[in-house]
């Protein structure tokens, strides 16, 4: 017990003293710089307000990103040039082929399911009483970490040998309907889809909540006017409602694509990338921290960056267009 205290009490003193020092430094800076007046006042204020953020952004994002780009043309220890070898390796390695196929599967299946289900539920939620209760229960998994969600589903996907009690929900359901349960995490390619379910489970609520808000934002007079013109049901939705929430729907889709590309935690926790479930972000981590190959790891990071960029640029552009209107 005394060991425990001697290890853990200093943790709290370090956290509170760090926060205190942070605010004291800021306070002192504010007090001193606040005295400056005349021509120097503005540049001093700018430096203090903007300086820390810019230094951190340069040291933490810009310079490291450039170095990663350079490392991708170097050997595992980043002390010798290898040209395009790390990129050429990707085109030849059979494991990378599996990873690319999986990544394409993820970005094709997950966003459509997430956004589709979210849209369906958003429309239906609008039609029922007490919508806030199902809404917060459907949204709740968003607060749970991917690791936590993976463990929740580890128990759902649990498989026991025939003859033993099936304690996993999936196995029990398959058993109940007369099927034969199997070790789900070892069954290719089903295991990848089972991992996708975990992602959809955590992220669907996000799409549902913003689509629900978008649907409620459609002006009633437009809907009523077209209803008077005889539009109803599916036609009303397709011609009036959907065009007005299309922008939001595409944002939900794009968020799903980016999330699927960066996906790491679920695969790491559930299969460690084994059994044909590996994805790009997990392979990048493995190359660097398991194989100790900074060159290949950096090259994979660059590929990830190149895949994510067009989608995010699209999002940024549509966001800017919205602002100018």
């Amino acid at each position: 017990m005394s060991d425990f205290l001697s290890i853990n009490i200093p943790k709290f003193t370090s956290v509170f003293s760090s926060i205190a020092i942070f605010f004291i430094v800021l306070g002192v800076l504010f007090a001193i710089a606040g005295r400056a007046n005349g021509k120097k006042a503005r540049p001093i204020a700018l430096t203090i307000f903007l300086g820390p953020a810019l230094v951190l952004l340069f040291a933490g994002l810009i310079i490291p990103a450039i170095r990663t780009f350079i490392f991708s043309f170097m050997n595992p220890d980043s002390n010798g040039w290898v040209g395009f070898d790390n990129y050429y390796w990707m085109t030849q390695d059979p494991n990378i082929k599996i990873i690319m196929v999986n990544t394409i599967l993820w970005i094709m299946v997950v966003p459509i399911f997430t956004a589709g289900l979210a849209l369906l539920l958003a429309i239906m939620l609008d039609r029922i009483k007490h919508e806030s209760i199902p809404k917060s229960l459907l949204f709740m998994p968003m607060a749970i970490s991917f690791v936590g969600a993976s463990i929740i589903f580890k128990f759902v996907y649990e498989y026991r040998d025939p003859g033993e009690v099936q304690i996993g929900l999936l196995s029990a359901i398959v058993d109940f309907f007369g099927g034969t349960p199997k070790d789900w995490m070892l069954s290719k390619p089903l295991n990848t889809f089972l991992l996708m379910i975990i992602y959809v489970w955590t992220q669907m609520g996000f799409g549902m909540v913003i689509l629900s808000a978008a649907i409620k934002g459609v002006p009633a007079d437009i809907v009523e006017a077209s209803a008077l013109d005889g539009a109803s049901g599916w036609r009303l939705f397709r011609n009036i409602t959907f065009p007005m929430i299309k922008g939001t729907f595409i944002v939900v889709l794009a968020t799903g694509v980016v999330g699927s590309l960066k996906l790491f935690d679920i695969v790491r926790t559930m299969t460690g990338g084994n059994f044909g479930t590996n994805v790009l972000a997990n392979e990048m981590y493995s190359q660097v921290f398991v194989q100790f190959d900074q060159g290949k790891g950096s090259a994979l990071a660059i590929v990830l960056f190149l895949l994510v960029t067009p989608i995010l640029i699209y999002n940024i552009r549509s966001l800017r267009r919205e602002r100018t209107h």
Partner: protein, 307 residues
């Protein structure tokens, strides 16, 4: 968009009858909730019962125990959990508080400068910071870790000293602070740029400088926005795995509970008691935040989910 008359009737009316809608919504909600309930029930079962009986059968003749929680919190004698998850739980708190406060304060200051201290190129700088969001975390990990352990050199000249913070708390706070900035600055800029111009100008006419305006006007008015972004950042750090795996060694001195949990998954058999109770302890904090601050939580998440 006219806000005066929002859809009081459902625009998708008659697409589904409300009866069908209710059935579908409540069945999906049931499916969505069952896995979490399964984990909760499992976490209160004895180690033999976990393996010999499905959790839904246990509901019929309940015999539950707190032994898993006691074991996982304080240690169950196994090699991987000699002191329990309590040290890791403490680490999570110790990591998350500064990793939330530091970036939010720094981002609020930067957002104010970009919005209200005009200078040449401020629009470009704002857009540049916003665009930095496209850089995935993976692009920074290796060089940042090298910087923390070895400093930066050109040839043999050190241009940046080795910080020596790898594997310490500061070595986790710093990357979280750096990675949070682009999005936090962008979102806070939206809040702060929207404050009334007259108020700022009046304060400057009265002789207040930027530091006073920031403290007396901007901070109080931006608090709701700051709070929702802070909650999002808190959850992001608490739930993070990649930064923790990279910058914290897995030891109970610094590793957060989420990464400890990920390492427990490899165990089988009796490890399930630790796994179920440990998982529930880990997700309890975000769930409490979720249910008690749902309004802020939703706002922060909607603003921040692009991360």
């Amino acid at each position: 968009m006219s806000t005066s008359k929002l859809a009081s009737h459902n625009p998708g009316r008659k697409l589904f009858s409300s009866k069908i809608a209710a059935i579908v919504v409540w069945s999906v909600t049931f499916m969505w909730t069952v896995p979490t309930i399964g984990l909760l029930v499992t976490s209160f079962k004895g180690d033999k019962a976990i393996l010999n009986e499905a959790w839904w059968s246990s509901l019929l003749h309940p015999s539950f125990t707190l032994a898993n929680y006691k074991g996982v919190f304080l240690g169950n004698g196994s090699e991987s959990l000699s002191n329990g998850v309590l040290p890791y739980f403490i680490n999570s708190i110790v990591i998350t508080l500064p990793a939330t406060i530091f970036p939010i304060v720094i981002a609020t200051m930067a957002a104010y400068a970009l919005a209200w201290i005009r200078f040449r190129g401020s629009d470009f700088l704002f857009f540049f910071i916003f665009a930095l969001q496209i850089v995935p975390l993976q692009m920074s990990l290796i060089p940042l870790l090298l910087l923390f352990t070895g400093g930066a050199h050109i040839g043999s000249i050190a241009i940046f000293p080795a910080l020596g913070i790898a594997g310490k708390f500061a070595g986790i706070w710093l990357p979280h602070t750096m990675f949070a900035l682009p999005l936090a600055i962008y979102l806070l800029h939206n809040f702060i740029a929207g404050l009334p111009r007259d108020l700022m100008e009046a304060a400057h006419v009265d002789g207040a400088n930027h530091f006073k305006v920031f403290r007396m006007i901007v901070l109080p008015l931006a608090i709701p926005g700051i709070a929702s972004i802070a909650i999002f950042q808190f959850l992001w750090v608490w739930n993070d795995l990649l930064v923790a795996l990279t910058f914290a060694s897995g030891t109970e001195e610094v590793a957060p509970i989420n990464s400890k949990l990920a390492s427990l998954v490899g165990q089988y058999g009796s490890g399930y008691t630790a796994l179920s109770a440990g998982a529930f302890i880990t997700i309890a904090v975000p769930l409490i935040v979720f249910f008690s601050l749902q309004r802020y939580f939703v706002r922060g998440l909607l603003a921040g989910s692009v991360k």
